[in-house]
Each structure stands twice: as structure tokens, then as C-alpha cells.
Amino acid sequence: MNLQENLKRYRISQSEYELICEQLGRPPEGIEWALYSALWSEHCSYKSSKVHLKKLFSKSERVLQSFGENAGVIDLGQGERVAFKMESHNHPSFLEPYQGAATGVGGILRDIFTMGARPVALGNYLCFGEPHADRMPELVKGVVSGISGYGNCVGVPNITGQTEFHESYNGNILVNAFALGLFRPGEKVFTSQAEGEGNLVVYVGAKTGGDGVHGASMASESFDDDNEAKKPNVQIGDPFFEKLLIESCIEVMNQGLVVAIQDMGAAGLTSSSFEMSSNGGVGFDIALDKVPLRDSRMTPEEILLSESQERMLLICKPENLPALKDVFERWSLDATSIGHVTKEKVIRLTWKNEELCSIDPDNLVENAPLYNRPYKKWVPQNRTESKDVSVLVDDLQNYQEQLLKCLSDVRGCSRNWVYDQYDQRVGAQTIADCRQDVGVIRLPDSERALSVALGCRPYVMRLDSHEGGKDSVAFPALELASKGFEAMAVTDCLNFGNPEKEELMTEFVASVQGMSQACEALNAPIISGNVSLYNETKDENVTSTPSTGIVGLRDSVYGPASMVEKNDEVVVLLSKVQLKTGGQYAEMQKQPLRAFGELCPQKTANFVKDVKSFINTYEISSSKVVGKFGLAYSLARMTLGSVGMSVKTDEVLPAMNFSEKYFSENLYQVVVTLSQETYSQIADQKFDFELVKIGRTGGNHLNIDNKISIPLEELKQSYFTGWGDHFESLA
């Protein structure tokens, strides 16, 4: 094969080829091509994003483990710690939605229990195209049943989700899975740092098959019309096997039989062995012919690149191998020693006693190329001089009808069709599930509450990437605060288009900076995550979507409800408005997105902290952050239970007109309900935010300013049947 053919086949650029020649002092040979191809792919090396990721706010006194390991770990005090991470599985899910989403869940779970933590919560951030786009109902159905099929079987509850729809995802959906694991007091955190000359390299779990060979480099490519040819890359997951792997791995770790451990994810055995060796500063001697195979015809290159699921690589002391094998056997799994650790930092791969290569792992991991791709300084987008950014459309005069339209629109309707398919309570620690504003589980030892909120509102990203980046952190942090949780740390999944395009890279940098600023102001560091680039089809990029997962802690297992539950309570609006936009309603009305102002990370963080202490100081019955579609929609969501509400603001909020107040989005506001008695405690208090009494709970209608009066039954009808109207085939 000539050079050009090899470069094309292994997706290596001319300049990268020259760098390889420089590293080796000669051109790459044989198996080295495949190793460089996999580990220098965007997916494994983060070569386009790393220079920016290094600048992220990533440290705080709570952080025990940050980037560089399978997942970040934070200390919750009282001996409890959690590991969490979010990861994308966009490309595989578009090709084969069921298996793509299922293996996405499997992969993120392995990242968690690899650290020694038992997985206790899952979350899913999904972006689909328009309901009527080609294949969309099939994709929605496949992804949701893939997540449910895998997550339910392994027995980890799905406690939160976010599902978005927009035309930019028509040809490239986003499937981001979040997982969180718990270390109980006394349990140890494990890492991938191999050590100890003479220790064994042990292969555990499923046998290696042809699944997903070259998957890592595929994930680093855009979609085009020859998807058909990429079919054999699909990986098949087995949640039952994963469950056995979770139990057995946790058991061997707790018994002290493991030195270091890593799952075989993207680029399979290659990335796990090279990263373990590079991170630990030791070498490996691996006999590839000892790798257990599902198909005996596999070549060394295929074995190295296979992405067969449910496999782990671990290091153990030779004397511990029998005990280790016993545990795995009890769980019906095989553990096979395939090599040993060597002192010199060199990876030597052999096949039937013949050396295939002998190479410094740092060449492929630490010293992979880094690109500072061209981007421009961010200029605020879509701003106006006028404070009133409300949408001016004639039919907005019929406010009542418009509110019902928001509730039944695909962007606003109930996602219970999705959530009903997830087991949300296995584990018997769930306090609040996907149907609530944030997911909450109980920490069994300290009996405190831990929450997960997902973030990134794509329409805010479409308005302005810098503001959208800040909002991706600030909005979920405020959601946590509205339930009394302190935001502790953040994971992210940066879904962007082609980084080789300057305008795209500019959005990437602007949003990552925005996220980092918001995190720093909140003292909630980003401790883990992944980057998914080349999310484009036929030159059309998806909306830049930096999704986030934020973990919060609260002392009590009880907190404010999502819906109004009591009559005769006072409805109060807490505000610190910095950015005003037509938001989701403008987009639904096909009006241009416009905004006034900008988010100040420090002001926002102060508001988040103030809201949290307000919620924890006073007795608050229910709360909701005002989000998509503005205040009217949020009030409607709070009255989908059995208690209504009457709100009147012409006197207390005279400066804004009706649509500005109720259908625009004023970032940020929180609605709370509390008893008359509690209100009398706060009425004369001074707060660092605006606090206005806007109404009263009770009755069986939602009444707003004499312009809206809708029976609760009608609100529910719109909200709960909306999904079926958009997805007839799924209802």
C-alpha cells in the first residue's frame, strides 16, 4: 500500500504523518499505523479542543479527581464521595438508535464503576430533530428504548432528563448520557495508573469481537450519504453482562485485589492499555494472542481496535490472580492474564511470540498533536437597544390560546412518554424522578439528599453562544438552588460541529469561556466530560450544544415540590434580571431571536446562592425557575396538579407590558409559593434580589391578570396530550 492510501485509510493527515516520523525517527510500520490512527483521532486525543479545555475552571477544595481519569470525583464530606461524568454517543445512535443509545449508557456506567464507585443514578440529555423529519419517530423510539433497555436491566435508576427538538438536529441527533456513582465511607477511589513491575495485566469480561473496529476514528468524522458502508461499526451491548461486571469489579476492588483499572471504551484495548501505561509511567508487555476472542479469525489490528462492549483491563499482583479469578468466576465471568507490567515506559505487543511493535506510550497519548484552530474574538449576537424584546405577533393578543399552544408544542409538552419507560426508582433511594424539576436521590449513610440537574438550552445557544455557555451552567445551578441544593461540581458534554470551520470554533471558544466563568463564580468546577465534534451532516452543523450535568447537595431529604400542593398560599417572584429575550416563544413563532443585556456571572452566582439560602431559611412549599416560554408557562407547569393559582401583576410590576412579563424570558427569575405566615416573616426583609408578591394559590383555574383564565383540566389536556399529537406513531 502506498503512503497516500495509508494516510486515507488510517485518517492521518500529512502533517501528523511527519510528526510520527519525527517521533519514531522513521516512518510508521505495520500495527503502528492503527495505533496512531486510533489514539490520535479527535475522539481519543481531543486534539482540537484540549488547548481550550485546559483553561476550564476545574479545581476546588472538594475535587478529589479531575480530568485525566475516567470520571471526576468530589468529596461530599462525612466520608461520602461521588464520581460522575457525561458522555456523548451521537454518531452510533444516529446509525443504530437502540444499540447506539444502549452502549452509550453502558460506556458511561463503566467510566463510573471503574473508579470504584457503585453507579446509583443516570440522566439523559437528548436532542432530536423536528418530529416530522425523516426517520425521527424511529430515532426517538430507538434511543429511548435503548436507554431504557440497558439502564433498567443493570438496575441503575434514571432520575433526570432533558429532551430538545430543533431542525438543526434533523440529520445528527445528540444522545448524551450522564452517570453518577457513590463511594460509601471507607470505600477507595481507584485510578488507571498502572504500577509495579511484574504485576499482571488482566483482561476481564466479554470476549473480543469485530464490533466497532475503527469506531473512534468514525466518531471523529462527519455524516454523509455513505452511512450504509459504516454499518459494521455498530457495537452491541449486553446490560446483563454489564450488571455482572459491575458487581464483580466492585467486589474485587473492595477486596483489595486491584492495583489499577480501566474500561475498554473508544479504541478498546489500545486506548486502555496505552493510557494506563502512560498515566502510570510504566511499560506493558502484552501477548495479543492471549486476548479471549469471539471470532478466532480476528487479526491483531482488529483485536487492538475492537470496541466490543463490557470489557475491562486491570492490573493485579501475581499472587492475587487466583483470588481475583475466583470472584469473577462466581459472577460467571472470565479473567485472563494477557501480559505484565514492565519498568521501562514502553509498550511491547506480541502475537504468537513475534514482536509486533515496541513503542513509547507517551508518543501516542501525552505527545499527541494539539491544534489551536483559528477562531475569532466573540462579538455579542442578536442584541437590541430596546428593553422590550417581546414578540410582536398579532395572534399573541389571544394570550390564553398561546399559553395552551406552548404547553402542547413539542418544545413544551410533557415528556412522560420518554420517562415512563425508564426505571426511576430501582435502588430504593429515589426522592425525585424525571417528572420533577431536578432528580434527587438519598445518600444512605448520611441521609442527606443529592441532586442532578442537566443544562444547556439550545435556543439560548442559538441566540448567543457566550450567553448560552453561561446559561448552560447557571440555569441548572439555579434549578438546584430553587430546591435548596448547593451546586458542587459540573460535568459537560461539548457537542459541536466541524472545528476546522472558523465560525464554529469561535462558538466553541465563546461558549466554553462562558461556562468556565459561570463555574468559577459559583465555585462549582468542571471535573469531567467529553467533547463530540464533527456533528454535521452535509455541511450543516447542529446547534452548538454544550450540555452539562450539575450535582448538588442538601442536608434534608425534604424540599420544595415542583407543583403547587396547598391552597391559600402566597405566590412570590424572585428576580435578578440581566438578560431579556423573546426566547423559546419567539422561536416557536418563527420570529428572530433577540435579546437585551447580558449575563454577569458574578451577579448570577450571587443570585443562585441567595435563592438557595432563601429556600433553606424559610418554609417554601413549591418552587420553579422561570425557564422556556417565560413566566406564564412556568406558572402553568406549577398548576398541573390539583391546586390552581391567581396572579395579578399590573400594580407590582408596572414597568413591563403583558407579553414582556409573561411570554418573554427574563433571566433569571424563580417562582415560589409559601404560607401567609411565612410571607409575613419575609415581607419586610431586604434581599439582594427583587422579591414581589404576585398572587395566591387556590381554585381550579390558572388566572393571570384578567387576560388568562384556564381550567386546570384544560392545562393538563394540552400538556399531557401534546406528545401524542406530534408523534402519532409513538403515542
Binding site: K243, R425, A428
Partner: protein
């Protein structure tokens, strides 16, 4: 305080939840591993928790039903001792023939996770004695209870129907959510009482089951 054997198969995933529920009621739980038979005199009651034993492959409960531990469970049940199967545990008890009927895929073809209201049709002394109505979570893909007309008539006549759904979530015949054997010492139900033990879980109607 009772000594309660909690059965663990490969793929059982509500085992720790049952353990927690037993402890909350002051009982002493002990594990019963799928590969091992046990002495039926060493426990006072047996619970088979939910999950996906053996991935639910072939058909739910089929592979678990053939395991050594089920030989002992059968012996224990035949001796008149109390056995409770929850969700996958219910499916396994039907598969080994300790309970009548069979559980198949939900009529709507999807997994369903929701809270259900239940009505007690007949009391089962060892489990959840007198509670007449309760609200519990369900989470299953194969919870549609089926049995032939003749068997159904017999089961009803003998008072073996334990719980029925007020709103049928899966297409079960006569909205049956749980049944007992003729002797009423073996019982199974699809809903999860162990997930409704305390107010913070969203309800505590499951408390009296253990």
C-alpha cells in the same frame, strides 16, 4: 424479628432494596445465592426480589427457575412457609409453578414506570395483612398477568387473587396485580413495596408488606 432469606440470581437488581426494607422493619436478612441450596429450617421467610435475572433472556424468569436455589425455595414453600416474589420474583414463582398463571409483555409493548393504586381482593396473612388499599410504584416490561378462563375461575373461587390495579397499566387479566397459591403462603406481585417505605420515597404504603 424474622430471619428473611433474600434470593440473589445473576441479574437480580432489587436485592439491596429488599435488604434495606427488611432491616427497616427490624428483620434479619440473609443472602441466598442462586447456585446454593439451603436448609429450609434456617430462615423464617423468603423473598425473591425484582430485577432482570439472566437478562430476562429466553423468557422472563425461565433460567432462574432452573437454578439450585429454587429447589430449596420450592421445598420451603411446600412446607407451608412464607415466600414473596416481587416483579421478576413474581415471574420466577409463576415459571416454577408455585403460583398460577404467567406474566407476558405489557399490552402496549413498552416498559412502564409509574405509581399505581391497588385494591386488596383477599388477604395474605404473612405479607401486608390488613391493608385494603395502597399506592405503590411499578416498573416492568412484562407484567401482563395471564391465565386460562378455567384457571381464572378457580383462582377467584379459592380467593387467590391478592391485589388488583384500580387502573390497569399493562393489560393484566381482570387487572390482577398479585396472586397467592392455594395455601396462601406463597404470594407474588408486580408492584414494588420496597420502593414505598418512607415519605421521602413518595409514599409509605409498602411498609406493612415486610
Amino acid at each position: 424479628m424474622k430471619k428473611i432469606g433474600v434470593v440473589r440470581f445473576l441479574g437480580t437488581n432489587c436485592d439491596r432494596d429488599i435488604w434495606q426494607a427488611c432491616e427497616a422493619r427490624g428483620h434479619e436478612p440473609v443472602w441466598l445465592w442462586h447456585e446454593d441450596q439451603f436448609d429450609i429450617n434456617t430462615v423464617d421467610a423468603v423473598i425473591i426480589p425484582g430485577g432482570f435475572s439472566y437478562g430476562d433472556y429466553l423468557r422472563c424468569g425461565a433460567i432462574a427457575a432452573k437454578s439450585p436455589v429454587m429447589k430449596s425455595v420450592t421445598e420451603f414453600a411446600k412446607a407451608g412457609c412464607p415466600v414473596l416474589g416481587i416483579c421478576n420474583g413474581f415471574q420466577i414463582l409463576c415459571e416454577v409453578g408455585l403460583l398460577p398463571g404467567v406474566l407476558v409483555a405489557n399490552d402496549h409493548g413498552k416498559f412502564i414506570d409509574t405509581w399505581v393504586e391497588l385494591k386488596q381482593e383477599n388477604a395474605c396473612q404473612p405479607w401486608a395483612g390488613e391493608k385494603m388499599n395502597c399506592r405503590l410504584p411499578v416498573a416492568h416490561g412484562e407484567g401482563r398477568y395471564q391465565l386460562s378462563e378455567q384457571e381464572l375461575a378457580l383462582v377467584k373461587e379459592r380467593g387467590q387473587v391478592w391485589w388488583s390495579y384500580k387502573e390497569n397499566p399493562n393489560g393484566s387479566v381482570e387487572s390482577i396485580a398479585g396472586v397467592m397459591n392455594e395455601n396462601k403462603n406463597v404470594a407474588g406481585l408486580m408492584p414494588h413495596p420496597e420502593r414505598a417505605m418512607f415519605d421521602w420515597m413518595g409514599g409509605n404504603d409498602g411498609f406493612s408488606f415486610f
